[in-house]
Symmetry: C2
Subunit: 467 residues, 2 copies
Amino acid sequence: MNSSLQNLSKALEDLDDLLGSRLSTKKIIRDHHSGDESWHTPQRPDAVCFVNNEEEVSRALAICNEHCVPVVPYGTGTGLEGGTIACNGGICIDTSGMDTIVKVNTEDMDCVVQPGVTRKQLDAYLHNSGLFFPIDPGADASLGGMAATRASGTNAVRYGTMRENVISMRVVTADGSIVSTGNRARKSAAGYDLTHLYVGSEGTLGIIVELTLRLHGLPEAVSSARVYFEDVDGAVNTAIQTIQCGIPIARVELLDAEQVRAINRYSKTRFPEKVALFLEFHGSNASVKEQAETVGEICAEFGGSDFEWTVYEEERREMWDARHSAAYAAMAVRPTAKAYATDVCVPISKLAECIRESREDVENNLTIPSFCLGHIGDGNFHYVFLVDPDSELELAQVQQLSGRIAQRAIDFGGTCTGEHGIGLGKQKYLEIEFGAEAIALMRLIKQAIDPRNIMNPGKLLPLEQRH
Amino acid sequence: MNSSLQNLSKALEDLDDLLGSRLSTKKIIRDHHSGDESWHTPQRPDAVCFVNNEEEVSRALAICNEHCVPVVPYGTGTGLEGGTIACNGGICIDTSGMDTIVKVNTEDMDCVVQPGVTRKQLDAYLHNSGLFFPIDPGADASLGGMAATRASGTNAVRYGTMRENVISMRVVTADGSIVSTGNRARKSAAGYDLTHLYVGSEGTLGIIVELTLRLHGLPEAVSSARVYFEDVDGAVNTAIQTIQCGIPIARVELLDAEQVRAINRYSKTRFPEKVALFLEFHGSNASVKEQAETVGEICAEFGGSDFEWTVYEEERREMWDARHSAAYAAMAVRPTAKAYATDVCVPISKLAECIRESREDVENNLTIPSFCLGHIGDGNFHYVFLVDPDSELELAQVQQLSGRIAQRAIDFGGTCTGEHGIGLGKQKYLEIEFGAEAIALMRLIKQAIDPRNIMNPGKLLPLEQRH
């Protein structure tokens, strides 16, 4: 029995004292906590802890830290970059049981939630309150996981991402310290911005145990629109022009013809199978009409056709449900495959060029099914490739192609990931994007906060070259 | 000659080789770099470096780090919490010469500037571009200094603070490393958020040498309004109701009767000398009118009188120039005094109560001139006290009172500083606000990035209790 196994066994003893039956080493439980929704190969943790409160998280981390055992935080397992895969074994801390909505402060338009609360759970809770939380990744992710990956979704162009919508948090660091990163003030010039340090830290600096989130007032009026184009350029240029005109559009989503076709098949919709923009406008009755008219004119200018808009909630819901199922719809085209998603984001002035070059690259170099969709008001788009998990050739081709797309985005002044995170798959691009000095600075921070490297080791930061 | 003097003298030799005549030890130059606009006693640095580019900053910091000499970054010296006071001597690095506007990307609505560019310089440069930068503290501060203190101003209620408007930066860390904290993408899930770590770090983690800033499209229409109240409560409740109705108001500024009187005297205006709200609306022609009408109704509900609104630029400019001179107008009431400003920010549901209790505290315990003004859409308000610098009694009274105001804000779930920073004066409240665990975490970060504690030592973080 080597020393790391000895450590693990001591940690399991202490965790058993702490959690009893809520510590599991059953294979089926470990299997359930071995992967996420990405193409990365699942790897099982040695045990799973089901925690109920921040005190338990604190004590569990103190135990793992004492025995130098890796910890993998886990919410819903719906990530797209392998963040919850136990690539170094260790203890998975499942926070899904911490699912209490602690408080909604209607007057201040904020709420306090535990990390296991999912976005749909919060949606349902806020029903009829006049408020909503705008961040909507495709999956029904946990809010702790969404903060940890700096998630966004279709509303980010108007309402921002998790970066702009987490007011403060409570986090537990590697040694078990419970830290409050801020308060409920709308702005503050007090001290280092610990909140933003933890948003996007992917479980590598600690575990989020409570979040104070910004809520938004439901707009007086909402209208949606759809419009179709002969090619992606027209759709992209429409979105760019809309943003540059300062129209406060709430959603502007690109779907290529293949994606629309997959959605029609999966969601039983009958959208014309062309390049589409799905749009949404929020505001007063007058302003929603004004926005839709202006955008209608821009669409016409760039060759858009069949522009139709609606204020009926049922029609809107059908359209956005279909949009949120896009990834699952794509996957249904080749059920035996795994989805491999790129996630670049570029300055909007470079978006048309970046998508065009990427599309040519895909068309010239790939024969497997691929889909392009994007939150293009932010400059963020995805290519989704359906890869046969048994084909090393396909995976190699897709990885090379994804690498070229990431490099292209970085060359255009953008990022390799707009909303999925670095996880296991993008560490190489993180280094290219930021440069060695920034990576060294990130590593200093990591080492200071987690000196034994127990927190989600192997994620986000590239492995250090030791001399 | 003790070791720290030896170190200083060696550093000065190396800096002389690097900068020649742009290194100054002249008393008059050191005097000019000894203080800021706060009540804190100025303290001279041992020398001042006038740097011209990031390479010089890098080499200067490497020299100071090698010899363990304190470094104080300096922009315009217009801070309000002693951030530029050389309380441990050392080298002042004056970045005012780095004042180039490197690039304006009109299509992406962003710009790249050096840290010595001031906000009014950028304003003038953007004239006729259709874009503007919204952050407007009272002083014509440098953008590097504004980022370092997480500054805001009158537009923050709609456009956010420096936190929301710095897209990325280049910074030089204590050892001279030049780090790029991000890129121009509007959102990113890549790596730790170094940008936000440096926004608000008050020169304690390095020196900002370049900023990429978010710009905003000039609204199609702008209108301003003024309204007067018999007491502060009516004005505050009007602001709260306006925010809670979701009106996207651009500015909502409170001034008490004493502040309006001081402004009239200083700026030769003739505003009724009552509690006032200065308001501004941005949007389309129709929406600006709609907003002003709705707010006019809310004002009437809370006892507002003489509501008048205007779209004429000259009238608007007169009003906002007067508002921006508020601090100088207050100081002119007692020219021999120094201004001592509080800066709390609370959740808006607690704002009326917090201002009311604070006002009673001021009225019951202070006889020197005091003024209340605030960016109350954010929940942020200032009390400005005019203190005789030779009276220990006055200073002690004001410090105790300010402490009670800070404690009250913290008890209401708010912060001791909305926009001025911690600097020298608020370290005690930082600890109360965040708790020992968060301070310990901040200290770990500081020690990791600046192990020799050369970067603006004595600022932001409370002195560590060594055992």
